[in-house]
Amino acid sequence: MLEITQTKDEACTIITLKGEVDASNSVELDAAIQEAVKSGSKNILVEGNALEYISSAGLGVFMSYLEDFQESNISFIIFGLSEKVGNVFHILGLDQLITLVGNKEEALARIYEA
């Protein structure tokens, strides 16, 4: 089960993920990110406090947007991942390509730094 909510304010778009991302619902995640990119938002944050599991298909979705983010100059930050889920990013090496931070404040701080 995956629940995706998207909120947008002046500074950034926040995509909140709740539940599990697997092969069957990774399409929904893809649609959510695509929507955020299309909306022209330059700062996209993903909140993963309630993300319990992410499969390789879900990781593939993040990976597929890395180039787009670079081209469109979008800062993409994931925050609030549990240790277990964070470890999945780490093992794959995705933490070297995506900025992972602990909480929203840190994420926002990163945005303002840039």
């Binding site: 499969s55 390789s56 277990k84 093992i91 794959l92 390509l97």
Partner: protein, 687 residues
């Protein structure tokens, strides 16, 4: 073997009938001759009676055989046969009457006893033939849709008739008249009882009913006419072929059954159109309920539905619209209405309550149909039915009449049944097609499974310095896990374990690409890091955007007792160190193949190096094992894997493999199927 000649009952009985009739004629002629000349010719009147009985029986046998043989036993045909025989018999009467009374009126010939006798006998024969054949034809009608009871009644009647033939032999003189009357009365009552069996009448169409009325009238007229005329023709008092119970009984039976058929048919006329309508409806229903055969399409069922609805309600105009995927409407069938009229009428309907609401949605409505007044040119009433297939509304059917309140409850009920049945037929057809398609997919997957299983190695390369065992199970028919080995020489080996992102068929395709890459690159003897860099480059061009592959590549040298490895985002290898007495995860940085598709990839890789000792264990596995969940959603995890290996480190490689698989499966629970692919490969070094 003795072979029976093919006896033709029909021909034999004709000959016998004619022969017996001639005998009868001769005997009676002799008797008349004796009477006229006051001579005793020595022939008993009983001989006449016996010959008559024989004649009756033979004629009965002939017609019984003849009628059963005829294939075309349509009711109207049967009645026509009876009527035509009656006509022939009557015609002979008229002819002989004219001959006697007009042509020979004043000649002596008119009074000639022998000529009178001949004409009497011919009339008698024709009358008998008419009565017996008609009775047997009536038998077919009575026994239509027979029940056991009716069959028994008829058999009893036949026995009564048979007995009545012999009645004349036993009763003599004055008692005859009383006995005859009593016998006839009995047969009359029995005939009335039999005359209730008229089940064939409703099955005649109106046209046939009119014809059968005419034929029945001819039969009644002929029978009554023959009855009275035959008595008049009697040549002398002594020779009486008519006053016997059998013939009288037949007269009574034929007249009574014809009369009751005549009256019932007559009174059936006004309601017969209703019956015909019901019959048509039943046939339509049957057509609709026959499921569509593969190869035919739904159009045919909808076409039958259209016709059935129209005839069920005597509709003046109708059309059927089908909803296409992108909110378009296609008019599938249109009857007695022009495109323009239909378009305008539909527009009017959209703006009229309650039709507008019913038509405006494409989703299934709770209301099955909608019926109401209409005020559009000549049309005065309309009913619209929705066509619902598989909980989806596929279209509407519009039925229009020029009379006000033209649809009654019965019509709407029957149309509703038609619509329901047609929708079920269409639904069944679609389900069947879907099932066939699924069956095909399953077969394809089965083939894919076999192909993929052949991609995993059946034999893992090794030498005497180490044992190696592998295992793989896919969640779906095909999976994305991969492992393989390669021997450079007798002491240098390459090993790889990998996992393709995603599951199922797409993962399986990428896995086979990985196998191709492995076999190409392993030839050029690269270091693990170089191997991964090259593999990344190769796969970057093949993998789709969202896919990546995680893998760890090892080079094992049993002479130098070293393992060199690099990790491309794959789960860290678990290494059991005999000296330390515990297992550890070999955490080196790495990056999945296909994640960075440029030259920078190399920067994300590290290379590991181990010098192994006897008793050390190298455990390679895929994330399916780590992420395997038990009933309460808990993951198997890295710690359980480590402690499992610690617990069985003294065992052989094969035992370790079994132990880990058993532990994972019992953790997940026996009843749950794996929801990810599990693979592992165990290497145990020997002394």
């Amino acid at each position: 073997m003795f072979k029976f000649p093919n006896i033709h009952i029909g021909k034999i009985t004709i000959i016998l009938a004619i022969f017996s009739w001639i005998c009868l004629l001769l005997v009676d002629s002799l008797r008349i001759f004796g009477e006229v000349n006051q001579l005793d010719v020595g022939i008993s009147p009983q001989l006449t009676n016996i010959l008559e009985i024989i004649f009756f029986i033979i004629v009965y046998v002939f017609f019984n055989d003849n009628i059963n043989k005829k294939q075309n036993n349509r009711f109207l045909n049967l009645i026509w046969r009876a009527a035509s025989t009656g006509l022939v018999a009557s015609a002979f009467f008229v002819a002989s009457y004219l001959f006697r009374e007009v042509l020979m009126a004043d000649t002596k010939l008119a009074e000639d006893e022998q000529l009178k006798n001949l004409s009497y006998h011919i009339s008698f024969a024709l009358t008998s033939i008419f009565l017996i054949s008609t009775s047997l034809l009536w038998k077919n009608l009575i026994l239509y849709q027979r029940t056991k009871n009716v069959v028994q009644q008829w058999q009893a009647f036949e026995i009564i008739l048979l007995m009545s033939m012999f009645f004349v032999l036993f009763i003599e003189g004055g008692e005859t008249r009383f006995g005859l009357v009593a016998g006839i009365l009995f047969i009359v009552i029995y005939s009335i009882i039999l005359s209730v069996n008229l089940k064939w009448i409703p099955y005649l169409t109106i046209r046939e009913k009119w014809k059968s009325l005419l034929f029945l009238f001819i039969i009644i007229f002929s029978a009554v006419g023959l009855f009275f005329q035959l008595a008049d023709l009697q040549p002398t008092q002594d020779i009486n072929l008519v006053s016997n119970l059998f013939l009288m009984g037949l007269f009574a039976f034929v007249i009574i059954y014809s009369l009751s058929s005549f009256l019932v048919t007559l009174f059936n006329l006004p309601t017969s159109s209703v019956f015909e309508q019901k019959l048509v409806e039943a046939i339509s229903f049957q057509k609709l309920s026959q499921s569509i055969k593969p190869g035919e399409d739904e159009e045919r069922v909808l076409d039958i539905l259209m016709d059935s609805c129209m005839s069920a309600a005597y509709v003046d105009a109708a059309w059927m619209e089908l909803h296409l995927p992108d909110d378009e409407i296609k008019v599938a069938h249109q009857r007695f209405i022009s495109d323009e009229e239909r378009g305008n009428l539909r527009k009017t309907l959209l703006n009229t309550d309650p039709f507008g609401d019913f038509l405006n949605t494409n989703s299934p409505s709770n209301i099955e149909y909608i019926y109401g007044k209409l005020n559009y040119e000549a049309f005065a009433s309309i009913v619209i039915f929705q066509l619902k297939v598989h909980k989806k509304r596929i279209g509407n059917i519009f039925l229009i009449k020029e009379v006000k309140e033209g649809f009654n409850k019965e019509m709407i009920d029957i149309i509703s049944t038609f619509v329901g049945q047609a929708c079920i037929s269409v639904e069944n057809y679609r389900l069947l097609n879907e099932a066939l398609r699924n069956e095909r997919y399953k077969e394809e997957l089965e083939i894919a499974k076999k192909v993929q299983q052949s991609l995993l190695p059946s034999h893992l390369h090794h030498n005497d310095c180490f044992e190696i065992h592998g295992f793989s199970a896919a969640a779906d028919e095909v999976g994305g896990d991969y492992y393989e080995t390669y021997a450079y020489n007798n002491h240098q080996f390459a090993m790889i374990i990998g996992d393709v992102s995603g599951k199922g068929t797409s993962a399986a395709f990428n896995m086979s690409q990985m196998k191709g890459v492995f076999h190409s690159l392993v030839q050029i003897n690269l270091s693990p890091k170089e191997f991964l860099v090259k593999a990344n480059k190769a796969l970057s061009n093949c993998l789709e955007k969202k896919s990546f592959i995680t893998t760890t590549y090892y080079i094992l040298d049993t002479k130098a007792k070293t393992i060199q490895f690099a990790r491309a985002g794959h789960c860290p290898t678990l290494y059991f160190n005999q000296k330390k007495g515990g297992a550890e995860f070999l955490k080196i940085t790495g990056m999945g193949l296909g994640m960075v598709r440029n030259d920078q990839y190399e920067e994300f890789l590290e290379e590991g190096y181990i010098r192994y000792e006897p008793g050390d264990i190298l455990l390679m596995y895929t994330d399916g094992i780590i992420e395997a969940k038990n009933e309460i959603g808990e993951e198997f995890g890295y710690e359980r894997l480590k402690s499992t290996l610690d617990g069985c480190s003294r065992n052989s490689a094969e035992n370790i493999k079994e132990e880990i698989i058993d532990t994972v499966y019992s953790f997940v629970g026996k009843d749950t199927l794996p929801d990810d692919d599990y693979s592992l490969m165990v290497v145990k070094f020997k002394g």
